[in-house]
Symmetry: C2
Subunit: 365 residues, 2 copies
Amino acid sequence: MTAMTEPLDRSYPVEHLRAFTAQVLAHHGVPDEDAALAAGVLAAADLRGIDSHGVVRLPAYADLLAAGRANPRPVIRVVRQTASTATVDGDGGLGLVVGPKANDLAIAKAREAGSGWVAVCNSSHFGIAGYYPLGAARHGLIGWAMTNASKLVTPAGGAERMLGTNPIAAAFPAGAEPPVVIDLATSAAAFGKVQLALLHGKGIPEGWVIDRDGAPTCDPTALAAGGAMLPLGSTPERGAHKGYCLAALVDLLCGVLSGANWGPFVPSLFWRLAVDREVGQGLGHFFGALRVDGFIDPDEFRRRMDEWVRTFRAAKPAPGVEAVLVPGDPERFAEAERRAHGVPLPPSVVAELRQLAGRTGIAFD
Amino acid sequence: MTAMTEPLDRSYPVEHLRAFTAQVLAHHGVPDEDAALAAGVLAAADLRGIDSHGVVRLPAYADLLAAGRANPRPVIRVVRQTASTATVDGDGGLGLVVGPKANDLAIAKAREAGSGWVAVCNSSHFGIAGYYPLGAARHGLIGWAMTNASKLVTPAGGAERMLGTNPIAAAFPAGAEPPVVIDLATSAAAFGKVQLALLHGKGIPEGWVIDRDGAPTCDPTALAAGGAMLPLGSTPERGAHKGYCLAALVDLLCGVLSGANWGPFVPSLFWRLAVDREVGQGLGHFFGALRVDGFIDPDEFRRRMDEWVRTFRAAKPAPGVEAVLVPGDPERFAEAERRAHGVPLPPSVVAELRQLAGRTGIAFD
């Protein structure tokens, strides 16, 4: 039915997208091992159904490298550390490379000291936040990751962009059940949903966006016209100050504490969007890892996690809802589907990737 | 004008409330030093304008002690630890006593290992979450505190109470500026606001509460009639799953990891509200402290914090808003006002405290 009006998505095996990504990054001077690491982060987003953060962003990363705005061969170094904390300078590298290495350092510190907390400066966009704690959870640890991002969200009571969508992610390993994975932007809605409404010429629900004067609006074009996204909570009576507080928390740990840029000064992945001035180095992240046996017997923890998961899945659902989900379920369902049937990409993304293939001489399809 | 229909609040110096609290707790067998500690936590709530968590709760704590449901002389012990983590068993003591001691342990571990993370089981309600990180910030550390609480909030897509209002608090010391203090319940609205609407016979905004069948409602009586509060975000399109994820994060760290009760099994401060069964010991908390110099030069950090605060205060305000605030500003304004003019208590609270005074033989006024 839709084929007459809209071209259909095409599906690609995730391994194909991952290999293409790695080759494109290597073409831009990223060492093979780092390119594979970065490709794994984007592939995780494609698999988990977070389409805005997957291979769709590869052209932007390639542009950053081509323009000399990201360092393909960063010398990543520890600036300062204690037994359980460190700050890492990403040397202007891709967040997709700097992030996994800093996350590994948090895990290594947790193994030694019970917990590890690593602030990162001088990095760039690191993909989906959930990738990192999921890695820790696969090693049996509780993981944590946050990043700041270029300005898009207004503070509660404000009328201008001051904060990124600053996500918070954490993962908890379970026993027989899959890990619980929390990954949320601290804005009311995802930026991608506003873009989707724009694409389809539709309105957006109230509570997502304000216009350039700070008035609530259902017009998605208001965002590009100098508007801003609202923090989680949307309105004063529904707790917009809480979303603002959470976005601030992320910005203070990732930006102010690490020595990176913060708030309205965080550089954009899309480097043509210039920022007024610099107040630090690059973009910032914050990673954490906690060893379960630093708190409780790990077998007991796994049993307790399983019971938690089953108890919440058995909660009474709201009218029209099939079942209550546990954090991480939707992404896990997407992953099963996409491992079986491939990652669907809309024609506009396929076209962009084909252009990138043409520019780099790397076959896409 | 209102004096004809509603009796006026009476104001009391915070020192008066603090002394009364300490004496009442001591009367119930709490050692003087612990009683003073606990009184300080309630006084902080009264000062900071979080009236639901201040002296208004003293009768409930006294009831817990009188009924033998809280241990006045707990032997608080470390169950398990690493250099930067620990689990503390609160021995069934008051959260107002167990909490400050566990928080001190997190701070002590941070001094040694760069960070300290302490999970607590076998505790009870610990007052306002913001009290704890503010203590860390006064020592120049970044502080963190969370607690689970008795069930009141539905999971996203659910139609029953499964989680508490599970707050997240953090504080960041600044230089010339006051610390940034984040303290938010992960529900869309505070329970106290629903109670206030009930008291005044008013409706509540949509997005706060669902009725016993899971349908949205503006009737505050629906909550007591088997309804539930909604998580931060309120509706699917405004991100209710995010508030649910945050409440889950708090419950997993405070409840599952610590060995305390979790989710729908967390005991209530109001001990007459029985819980179906026990899945752990008491109620749980999670405290954190991070040494700033484990990440960055402290002088540089203080300068950066000051600039962050000033930049956000200078953000363009929304129509009708005087100025954008920084997290912690409203509570700081309340504190200045109440230090000068006392803590206003409504007649119903004064009456309850007078009853308590009568029962214990300790003068209130």
